[in-house]
Amino acid sequence: MDLTPTPEMLAFRDDVRGFLKAHAADFSAGQARDVFAWQRLLIEHGYAARTIPKAFGGYGAEPDILKSRIIAEEFIAAGAPRGMAGQGISMLVPTLLEVGSEEQKTRWIGPTLRGEIIWCQGYSEPDAGSDLASLQTKAVEDGSDFLISGSKIWTSTAAQAQMMFCLVRTEPDAAKHEGISYILIPMSTPGIEVRPLKTMTGSAEFNEVFFTDVRVAQDQVVGGRGRGWFVANATLKHDRGMLGDPNATEARLGALIELMKTEVVDGRRIIDNPVFRDRLMQLQGRAMAMKFNGLRLISAQLSQEPVGVAGLVVKLQGCELNHQVAALAIDALGELGILYHDGPHLRARGTWQRNYMFDLGLIIGGGTAQIQKNIISERGLGMPREPKPAVL
């Protein structure tokens, strides 16, 4: 164990601080004045698209997980908006870099990084959730094209997106995992219908997308026909890693402590109530453990050691913890905690209530808590899979 920062890292931190100070006028309250200009500026300085090769529109730095962490910390400390982080940037770009053709890389990565193209992800279907590989949206050959029919669900940003990266069944006779292709679909193609999917938060954070004979050129397949399951899995790892991020938990816990220090009931601060204080301390202990667990994972990645079970538990534990933080905030607010939408007594614009509900969705989404426990016990502890039932 040695967490002393090297001179190189101290200097790098100074650079990031210097940049944020010099450009303090370009953002306020976590929002950029011009999101596109801000994104280009961040790429130019290596604070976004840091490790994407220059040839494809990135900054071209070597991967350095410590520098990435320093960037994240300093941006949070300065209240500066991070670079764009849609599913195009976080999931499609790494996929293209890994298995895309040169033509696909050149055509899509640059504009995606600059925020000129917004992507949505077409994976889940009404009948293919945890069992994603059973997906049925079909792509039937028609000359040099495919005709795609079926539907997708839980599609964030489908209404804004120009493009979708999508899993479709191209080989109906192949085995479940081997008949799937990963394909890029323009959302303006005739036959696509997007319907907002309103959730219990009151907003439509997701959509349903319906396909009726949607014509897409076959050369839009990424990573080879029938290889889609393996292409998608290579980047699903990144998705799960993001859910339950301990940095986000730490920030929310800080806000919760402030809330409990400022909210008063019967003339007494909430923090002075020992029951609430103990619940806060319980969550702080857990948040602290997840934070150091995150450091341990980073360190293991740096030294290319296997992370084992410590990595498999992040999504399960982190999402649950975030939900509990929001739950305590609502409880601490007492009757004020039931207010929502708007009004003079509403706290934090309803963020706690929204998080409380949305975080439950995150416990379910991206691999349910139960799927996570299967993964932990099977991959982490070497326990046997549930045998397939003889009769369905």
């Binding site: 453990a289 450091l295 502890l381 549930e386």
Partner: protein, 360 residues
């Protein structure tokens, strides 16, 4: 940045685990549990050969000169093996002597402690966990009076470090006139606790006062947390192994999600604790400003996780889990003691809040 154990640390832990496997298998633990007169001297001697008594004692005094993180790793190995040896005094007494002892006191005691010739006990229960049953030791004119409870290793210790009611620390000899000891029978059959009574016992004061006491408390919390971590690891491993072997309804029970999710939940609770315990131990020397809060949370969280793992692992074992035959209860009870000793989680979390100015 290196948030990982060094090769030396991994070797220390592995070789200590091997030593304990030879010197203190479950049958040996059982014998200790069954015979209150058994001091487990053979186990202690094996650990003395290993160098464990001198783990944090500087090399010039005959010790290994290692850090609290190394000591925590040793504590983890002891917890994993439910080893019938007191360890708190092994670490805390040298820290007290180094932090508050004179050169003469250090020269007198540290080499003997390092060699394992004398064992030490540290009595800080009242100062940390609160005074019960009228306990509390007062110091006047170089003499100690009163009683202190829950002293790990206190029955056999030749050196006793004791906190007074004002937060001062004192050094008393085990053979001093006016000192009497009685065994406090407790749930955990692998470690013994003493009640020490002082009737005008001659003692030497240690410098450092409440600040040093705070350091001993932090180190004690880390060691207990690490012991719990090791015990939790062992209980999870046993549950997984049992679930892979035990068959019901024609298949191993570990293939039922109801059972394997219990194991997954244990693993998911234990792994973040490991990261926290490592950090708290590291911070004790490398980041002293974070040491108290991280130690408190390590102690409190491993207490909660320890209770969950103790009961869940027992349940995975079904009826066998509660039998003496299997012996799983030694880990169950060890975690039980760890939870209460030097403060239960509620009390420790209240101290954590105080450390941040969130409680009066």
């Amino acid at each position: 940045m290196d948030f990982a154990l060094t090769t030396d640390q991994k070797m220390l832990q592995e070789s200590l685990t091997r030593t304990l496997g030879d010197a203190s298998p479950l049958d040996r633990v059982r014998k200790f549990a069954d015979d209150l007169k058994d001091p487990a001297k053979d186990v202690w001697d094996a650990l003395a050969d290993f160098g464990l008594p001198g783990i944090v004692i500087p090399e010039e005094h005959g010790g290994l000169g290692l850090t609290l993180l190394d000591a925590a790793l040793a504590s983890e190995a002891l917890g994993r093996a439910v080893a019938p040896v007191p360890f708190m005094g092994v670490v805390l007494a040298p820290l007290a002597l180094i932090g508050g002892g004179t050169a003469a006191q250090q020269a007198e005691w540290l080499p003997k402690l390092a060699a394992g010739e004398v064992t030490a006990a540290v009595a800080i229960s009242e100062a940390v966990a609160g005074a019960r049953e009228g306990a509390g030791v007062t110091a006047k004119g170089g003499k100690l009076s009163g009683k202190t409870l829950f002293v790990p290793g206190g029955m056999a210790a030749g050196l006793i470090i004791v906190a007074d009611t004002k937060g001062g620390l004192h050094l008393a000899r085990g053979d001093a006139a006016g000192l009497s000891r009685s065994l406090m029978l407790n749930l955990d059959e692998t470690r013994r606790l003493a009640e020490l009574s002082f009737d005008g016992v001659a003692a030497e004061p240690l410098a450092g006062g409440p600040e040093l006491l705070g350091r001993l408390r932090d180190a004690g919390w880390v060691l207990i947390a690490a012991d719990s971590l090791g015990a939790c690891d062992a209980m999870l491993e046993k549950a997984v192994a049992y679930a892979k072997e035990r068959r019901q309804f024609g298949r191993v029970i570990g293939s039922y999600q109801a059972v394997k999710h219990m194991c997954a939940e244990m693993a998911a609770e234990i792994e973040p604790c490991r990261s926290l315990v490592w950090y708290a131990a590291y911070a004790f020397e490398a980041a002293p400003e974070e040491a108290s809060l991280t130690a408190a949370h390590a102690k409190a969280l491993t207490s909660e996780v320890g209770r969950f793992v103790a009961r869940t692992s027992t349940e995975v074992h079904g009826g066998m889990g509660i039998t003496d035959l299997l012996g799983l209860h030694f880990w169950f009870k060890r975690l039980g003691l760890n939870r209460q000793l030097l403060g239960g989680p509620e009390r420790v979390r209240e101290i954590a809040a105080r450390l941040q100015g969130l409680a009066a």
